[in-house]
């Protein structure tokens, strides 16, 4: 978080080349809240904000925040992210989990599960999957994740995932799926469309670009996975997604 000079504000999206200071009229201004910079932006004191990557600049005047929307390939953990982690081994009082194949392992304490004590903690074998939240992530330490909300003591849907299949999608697509208004803002309608077609499945989207799909019917799970991957890899719009889902569901029956 950082404060910066303020000028008149509009909500604007544009593609900005990296390494050049942002024109001041694009920076949201609010006198009550400090300006928050998200991924892809850097504050150079005293008053310059430069992008560090190429992408779409998005500003949010309500939250007085701005960030660059781009599709990075490597997942960098950020506190609060919901992620899909795979247990690699168990230590004396924590599990080591991999968030993506080529990043340092994250730690998951044995006791950060719902109502876990030393005797009742879940026994996870190497290779099991957990849906978890990132608690701690900074440059110089291994990230830490948890499967329980530390304030309420409830799991809120986090924990071990049994059965099902994991599909890899791009990080941007995972972010779009996780948006509260994924249909309007993220332009992703695949899941709603699949539901309308009468497929029964459960889903857990991890910000690390992994989506877990569970369900009784194997065919339905495969179709959901193919729809997600097709929409992601083809960069499909809403109309394209509708067509894709219709085709896949017809092929299934």
């Amino acid at each position: 978080m950082c404060t910066s000079t303020v000028c008149n504000t509009k909500k604007q999206n544009l593609f900005n080349p990296p390494r050049r200071p942002h024109p001041p009229h694009l920076i949201p201004s609010s006198t009550s809240k400090p300006l928050r910079l998200g991924p892809g932006l850097r504050h150079l004191p005293p008053s310059d904000i430069i992008p560090t990557v190429a992408g779409q600049l998005i500003t949010n005047p309500q939250k007085n925040s701005m960030w660059v929307e781009y599709n990075n390939n490597r997942y960098l953990p950020t506190p609060g992210d919901l992620i899909l982690a795979q247990i690699t081994r168990s230590g004396p009082d924590l599990y080591y989990c991999s968030l993506s194949p080529h990043t340092p392992l994250a730690t998951l304490p044995h006791l950060s599960f719902e109502s876990a004590t030393k005797k009742t903690r879940p026994q996870l074998s190497p290779g099991s999957l957990v849906y978890a939240r990132v608690v701690l992530a900074n440059k110089h330490m291994d990230p830490e994740i948890e499967c329980v909300s530390s304030s309420t003591g409830k799991s809120d849907g986090l924990g071990e995932l049994k059965g099902g299949m994991v599909f890899d999608v791009s990080l941007q697509f995972a972010r779009r799926l996780l948006m509260s208004k994924s249909r309007e803002e993220g332009k992703v309608e695949v899941l709603e469309l699949l539901g309308e077609e009468g497929l029964a499945f459960e889903i857990a989207v991890g910000r690390n670009g992994r989506v877990w799909v569970g369900g009784e019917d194997l065919k339905a799970v495969v179709v959901v996975g193919r729809a997600l991957r097709g929409a992601d890899e083809g960069g499909l719009g809403v109309e394209g997604q509708r067509k894709l889902v219709r085709g896949l569901v017809r092929g299934m029956k």
Binding site: H102, S128, L161, V166, G225, L248
Partner: protein, 297 residues
């Protein structure tokens, strides 16, 4: 040494369970290949093969050398495979992994030992001068079934390749540049293709073709059959894994023949298209100093 990320227990279980019901993750039939694409480079002898998300580049090159002392009448033919860290961080430079050694070995057995390239025709002066043909195989992206893709790339590169034309007059060997004389194709005898079957389950009763990387990681055995479109089998490699019934192996070879014929006709088509693209104005036939004695390949 970094290791390849292993699939989770859920994924393993799901893939195996789905295969029991003959469902594949990408919706293919069990004996169906992913879409096979081939693009030739601007130079002769560069073939870029994509098989789904697997991508292999092969480049053939020729240089003049001295033949081996024990084979004075034969040219030299080598296949070099490289799996770079670009493909996966589990591959390191100058430290060949087991996969890399196996691919090199299988390609060598399929293409070199089956006599697909007539090495005697590469000899220019007995015991003194010969062509050394080298094919470099680079794996650019790995999504399973490297062997089939690499073999197709090698065969395509060699059939597309042209070596400089030479002549022998009064004991003087002349090598012509492409400007002087049109380069000539290699003396190619037959085109072998690899078809890899993957076996699943404890008894290896589920067999499928063109496994993706995920399927390769959970399979219990594999068998590579190399054969040409006439059904002549060059080699069968079944390296470890679960034992497979002889009868089902026979069925596998029958299906493999269909696939090899299919690949052969695709390659012929692409080669013809490329020749047409290069032959602007129809001058190539006039420039060529090559004999018309082309065997049926």
């Amino acid at each position: 040494m970094p290791r390849e990320a292993e699939p989770s227990l859920n994924e393993r279980q799901f893939v195996l369970q789905a295969l029991q019901d003959s469902i594949r993750l990408d919706g293919r039939e069990l004996d169906q290949y992913r879409p096979l694409e081939l693009t030739f480079g601007d130079q002769y002898g560069v073939a870029d093969v994509t098989l789904g998300k697997t991508r292999v580049l092969a480049k053939a090159s020729a240089e003049l050398t001295v033949p081996y002392a024990d084979r004075p009448l034969d040219g030299i033919f080598n296949i070099a495979t490289e799996l770079s860290p670009m493909t996966s961080p589990a591959f390191e430079v100058n430290r060949p992994t087991e996969t890399e050694v196996l691919i090199s070995r299988l390609l060598e057995k399929t293409v070199r030992r089956s006599g697909a390239l007539d090495t005697e025709s590469l000899c220019l002066v007995a015991g003194q001068k010969c062509w050394s043909i080298r094919v470099d195989v680079h794996v650019l992206s790995h999504d399973g079934n490297l062997i089939d893709a690499a073999c197709f790339a090698v065969v395509a590169a060699l059939r597309h390749f042209r070596k400089p034309d030479t002549s022998m007059e009064g004991g003087v060997l002349t090598v012509y540049t492409p400007a002087e004389r049109e380069p000539v194709p290699l003396s190619w005898l037959h085109s072998p293709f690899c078809v890899t079957w993957s076996f699943f389950g404890e008894e290896g009763d589920i067999a499928l073709l063109d496994a993706t990387w995920m399927e390769e990681q959970v399979r219990s055995g594999s068998c590579t059959i190399s054969l040409n479109k006439h059904g002549e089998i060059c080699q069968i490699a079944k390296l470890g894994g679960v034992p497979v019934e002889a009868v089902s192996l026979l069925q596998c070879t029958n299906v493999a023949l269909i696939k090899a014929k299919d690949m052969s006709s695709k390659l012929d088509k692409w080669l013809a298209e490329d020749a047409k693209r290069r032959d602007k104005g129809g001058l190539l036939a006039e420039l060529s100093a090559e004999n018309d004695r082309v065997p049926d390949i």
